[in-house]
């Protein structure tokens, strides 16, 4: 399938208010043509509402939606060049697979003679050739998901929208399907917006991830940027298990800053935005180590231990103020096993990418 006239998406000061709840609050977002952006956030953060405003199912209270250069804010959904893949798949239960895929083509008055070829092409793209006379209920969850994708792709939308498309699948299938989705999206180079609450899914599929919290767009960046330089505590905690620990600012200049955490000095190349406000650091669980040297480390006591696959996850309390930290040891050796209550020494990383203020 070729010649996708894809287009960028731009959201300008987009807001949506339902009665007394502000679901989406002044969101500005740009999706470059051909890229896949994930909207990631906890349930109720406004990510689905944002997606539905792009599709035209919700009217923005304020702000504008552009697809390419065109302002589509006032357009009804059927006139927008978008196609959505729904969480529930939303396959028409009274139509066959073929009829489902052909539906959008007929609705858009594609010349009759072209329809069968286009449908077959879409079905071959998702490897469902020969299933066209089946009814959706005869297909497995993964197959239904693919039909939904084919149905969206066949109309050659400028923009593809995904509303938690994998959350009804089991864990293994989810991993496989997201690989396939990503593959198809890359191959066709179609601009996509993908809504999910699953951090792992977002990070594995997206070019850029936009994190939303309480209706606001908190931070947008590549997965690695978000992980390394979270803009605030919410992002830091949402994009992975983190220890956010208060720190004391020692010095700060244009080159960077250094802070003191439990008496240990930590440097960062990025100075805090606001040196006057309280500063914290994000310590990833895998960045903290347990050391045997009793003099150099920070004294702490083991609270609990859990094995998660090859990782031993310790929860420890720092002696003194009792702050709890999570430490992940990967592939721990036999001498790295500590029972509950054991006093240990921990060492923090010498450097962190960013400081929170």
């Amino acid at each position: 399938m070729t010649e996708f006239a894809t287009a960028a998406i731009r959201l300008e000061n987009l807001s949506k208010q339902f009665k007394d709840v502000i679901a989406v609050d002044d969101v500005n977002l740009e999706v470059e043509a051909g890229t896949l952006v994930c909207l990631l956030g906890p349930s109720g953060c406004g990510k689905t509402t944002t997606l539905r405003m792009i599709a035209g199912f919700e009217d923005p209270t304020a702000g504008k939606v552009y697809i390419g250069e065109e302002d589509v804010t006032q357009m009804p959904p059927y006139a927008r060049p978008t196609a959505m893949v729904f969480q529930s798949y939303a396959l028409f239960p009274h139509m066959s697979v073929y009829e489902n895929v052909a539906y959008g083509l007929k609705a858009r008055r594609t010349p009759r003679a072209k329809i069968p070829g286009m449908v077959q092409e879409a079905l071959s793209l998702i490897e469902l050739v020969g299933q066209d006379e089946k009814s959706p209920s005869q297909l497995s969850g993964g197959q239904q998901q693919r039909v939904a994708l084919a149905r969206a792709l066949v109309i050659r939308p400028k923009v593809l929208l995904f509303d938690e498309p994998l959350s009804n699948l089991d864990a293994q299938l989810r991993v496989r399907m997201r690989g396939e989705l990503r593959e198809v999206q890359r191959r066709l180079g179609i601009t996509s917006v993908y809504v999910t609450h699953d951090q792992e899914e977002a990070f594995s599929i997206a070019d850029q991830v936009a994190i939303m919290n309480q209706g606001k767009l908190t931070q947008m960046g590549t997965p690695i940027e978000l992980y390394r330089r979270p803009a605030d505590r919410f992002v830091a905690e949402f994009v992975g298990l983190s220890n956010v620990v208060p720190a004391e600012l020692l010095e700060s200049n244009a080159e960077g800053a250094s802070v003191s955490v439990f008496g240990q000095e930590i440097r960062s190349h990025q100075p805090p935005k606001d040196p006057e406000s309280p500063i914290s650091v994000v310590l990833r669980p895998e960045a903290i180590s347990i050391v045997s040297d009793k003099d150099s480390g920070i004294p702490a006591r083991v609270r609990s231990l859990a094995y998660i696959g090859p990782i031993a996850r310790y929860t420890v309390a720092v002696e003194g103020d009792g702050t709890e930290l999570i430490i992940d040891l990967s592939n721990p050796g036999p001498d790295e096993f500590y029972e509950e209550g054991t006093p240990i020494q921990i060492e923090l990383p010498k450097e962190v990418p960013a400081l929170l203020s």
């Binding site: 959904p77 594609t110 286009m118 109309i155």
Partner: protein
């Protein structure tokens, strides 16, 4: 290789506002010509020198007010930006508002207006008819009787209904499947067929009272008879409402109570009963409305017992006092509306019994014999009694002279030939009304469940309002509203069809709403998203998925229209005489056996309609009436 699609978004969605405006104007102009007309009338006549000069002037007739209201109803949805953007939706909403305004609210409003019209030349506002109402002891008595009967009948039928529903859903009595059908059998009979079979069985020459028991002094005619007939007619509705609640109750609640030590009676009192209270109230209120609206039964079996609904008919048709009749209708409609509003309020509150996904429901409880067999006997008696009522009609139709000569004959059945025209009329009216009401119901349901726009609640309310309006009041309202030029509909089939369609619209609407709520809203969104317009989405996705609900609505309205008497008796004319009206006349004036043949034929038609429903939708007639 296939080229990319070449539709232009710009052309497709920037539909010129001109088209919308044009349609609006045409529609308004059409309404204007339907509800108003300008006629040329003689103004004055002068004779000067033997030459007669006649001055003419134009005069507006019809209802400018209705036009203003309709125009207002059309303007209202324009305030919604969402609708302004989608012309087809806008037009659908406007048409629905105008239709409900003209065919529901206007006729009802007319009853209030007519009752306040003075008798003087200028027809000024006056309370004289209401004064007359309260000065006539017979009418005061009728009002008191109506309310008392309503309360008694609703209370008894709800209580018995609760016992029956409980027994049929939560106990281990035998023959449950067949009993479930038998106890609700009278739902589908013409309402006055029950009183007719009561007359056959318990009347002056009743099979049981006269022939079997030899009773001569007592008579079924009067309040006792009406109460018994209404119980038999109304228990099924209570049973259905309460069976729905009992069978969806989470059994873990009762199990938990038992686990904590509650025994049979304590369990009923502390758990079961509080959980079903909202449903009990609903059943009571709907049966109250049904009882005070009842027209056919009191007419047949009432004896001298005065009630409002028959009085409204008698005052208008037999005593030619339309104003007093309208005032009576107002008197009748007020308690009905009150009960309806209360019912609406109850059903909108959060119910205790919510069907949650995980709840285990509909468990059967093993009861001690001393408790179980009395319950079983009550249900069995009710079922057998219903069977007896139906049986007596069919036997009555097959014998020479009920009460005197029980030898078999085909004379009564062949005698139906005289009513062949009425039968054809009724079938025609009922089919068209069914299709019309079913379609309006499904469109309205899809508008009020899926779209958000100003006035949606009002639309939903007006669509459901008729449920509370007694048929007599509907009939009187339509006659008053539509018998003046330019829309002289009285005496036509159109008025009957429209009256039946809108009268039963609430059921079509509610079953549509219930079905629509079962559909994943994403299906419609997916269709729109793929580029299908609203009408296309409705035709290709929504309607096929609502097909079952639509057919159920059509058949329900068909059956109710075939069996309607209270509105039909006002609206049918010599040319448009309906089967039920003819049948009613035969019941009053003809022999019981002749009348029984009429009733039997009607029951057979209903059974065929229900069979059709089962074949087309897989639903049984019990599902059809499970509306509230």
């Amino acid at each position: 290789m296939i080229e990319p699609l070449t539709f232009s978004d710009r052309i497709r969605n920037r539909r010129p506002l001109l088209i919308i405006a044009g349609i609006q104007i045409v529609l308004l102009a059409f309404i204007a010509t339907r509800v108003m007309d300008i006629v040329i009338v003689e103004d004055s006549r002068t004779v000067v020198d033997g030459v007669e000069t006649i001055t003419l002037r134009r005069e507006l007739i019809g209802d400018p007010l209705l036009f203003v209201l309709a125009a207002f109803g059309m303007v209202l949805p324009l305030s919604s930006t969402r609708l302004r953007r989608e012309p087809v939706m806008l037009l659908a909403v406007q048409l629905m508002i105008v239709a409900l305004l003209i065919f529901v609210l206007w006729p009802l409003g007319q009853i209030f207006v007519e009752g306040f019209e003075g008798t003087g030349e200028d027809k000024r506002f006056s309370l004289e008819h209401y004064q007359r109402l309260f000065e006539t002891p017979m009418i005061v008595r009728a009002a008191r009787n109506t309310v008392l009967l309503g309360i008694t009948s609703a209370t008894l039928s709800t209580l018995i209904g609760a016992v029956v529903a409980y027994t049929l859903t939560l106990t281990d009595i035998p023959w449950k499947r067949i009993l479930r059908v038998l106890v609700v059998l009278t739902l589908v009979s013409p309402p006055f067929a029950v009183s007719f079979s009561f007359i056959l069985l318990f009347g002056r020459r009743g099979l049981i009272t006269y022939d079997l028991l030899g009773i001569r002094a007592w008579s079924i005619y009067g309040p006792d008879g009406i109460i018994m007939v209404q119980l038999i007619s109304n228990i099924p509705l209570a049973v259905l409402i309460l069976m729905g609640v009992f069978s969806s109750m989470d059994r873990d609640l009762e199990n938990a109570a038992e686990d904590l030590g509650a025994k049979t009676f304590r369990l009923l009192r502390t758990i079961t009963f509080p959980l079903v209270t909202p449903a009990l109230l609903t059943a009571w209120l709907l049966n109250f409305i049904s009882s005070i609206s009842d027209f056919g039964n009191p007419m047949l079996i009432g004896g001298g017992f005065q009630l409002l609904a028959p009085q409204a008919y008698i005052q208008r048709v037999e005593l030619f006092d339309p104003q007093l009749s309208a005032a009576l209708a107002v008197l009748l409609v007020i308690p009905a509306l009150f009960a309806f509003a209360l019912q609406h309020w109850i059903s909108n509150r959060k119910s205790y019994v919510t069907v949650t996904g995980g709840a285990r429901t509909g468990h059967i409880r093993k009861l001690p014999g001393w408790f179980k067999w009395p319950l079983f006997s009550i249900v069995l008696f009710l079922g057998m009694f219903n069977l007896l009522l139906y049986g007596s009609i069919f036997v009555g139709a097959a014998v020479k002279a009920w009460g005197f000569d029980f030898s078999l004959t085909l004379r009564n059945v062949s005698g139906l030939v005289i009513a062949i025209r009425e039968l054809r009329n009724s079938l025609f009216v009922a089919v068209v009304a069914g299709l019309l009401g079913g379609l309006i119901g499904i469109i309205l349901a899809s508008l009020v469940t899926r779209r958000r726009f100003a006035g949606r609640g009002a639309l939903d309310f007006s669509g459901t309002l008729m449920y509370a309006i007694p048929g007599t009041v509907v009939g009187i309202g339509y006659i008053i509203a539509f018998n003046a030029a330019p829309y002289l509909l009285t005496g036509t089939f159109i008025i009957i069809i429209i009256a039946f369609a809108f009268r039963r619209l609430p059921v079509g609407l509610r079953s549509g709403v219930a079905a629509e709520k079962q559909i994943d809203p994403h299906l419609e969104e997916a269709s729109l998203d793929l580029g299908a317009s609203r009408p296309r989405t409705f035709a290709k996705v929504t309607f096929p998925l609502l097909r079952t609900a639509f057919l159920a609505g059509v058949i329900y309205i068909f059956i109710r229209s075939m069996t309607d008497l209270s509105a039909a008796i006002f609206l049918s004319s010599a040319r448009t005489q309906l089967f039920t009206v003819r049948m009613f006349n035969v019941m009053v004036r003809g022999t019981p056996s002749e009348a029984a043949a009429f009733a039997a034929l009607l029951i057979v038609i209903i059974m065929i309609a229900l069979g059709l429903l089962g074949r087309l939708t897989g639903k049984s007639f019990v599902d059809l009436f499970r509306i509230t």
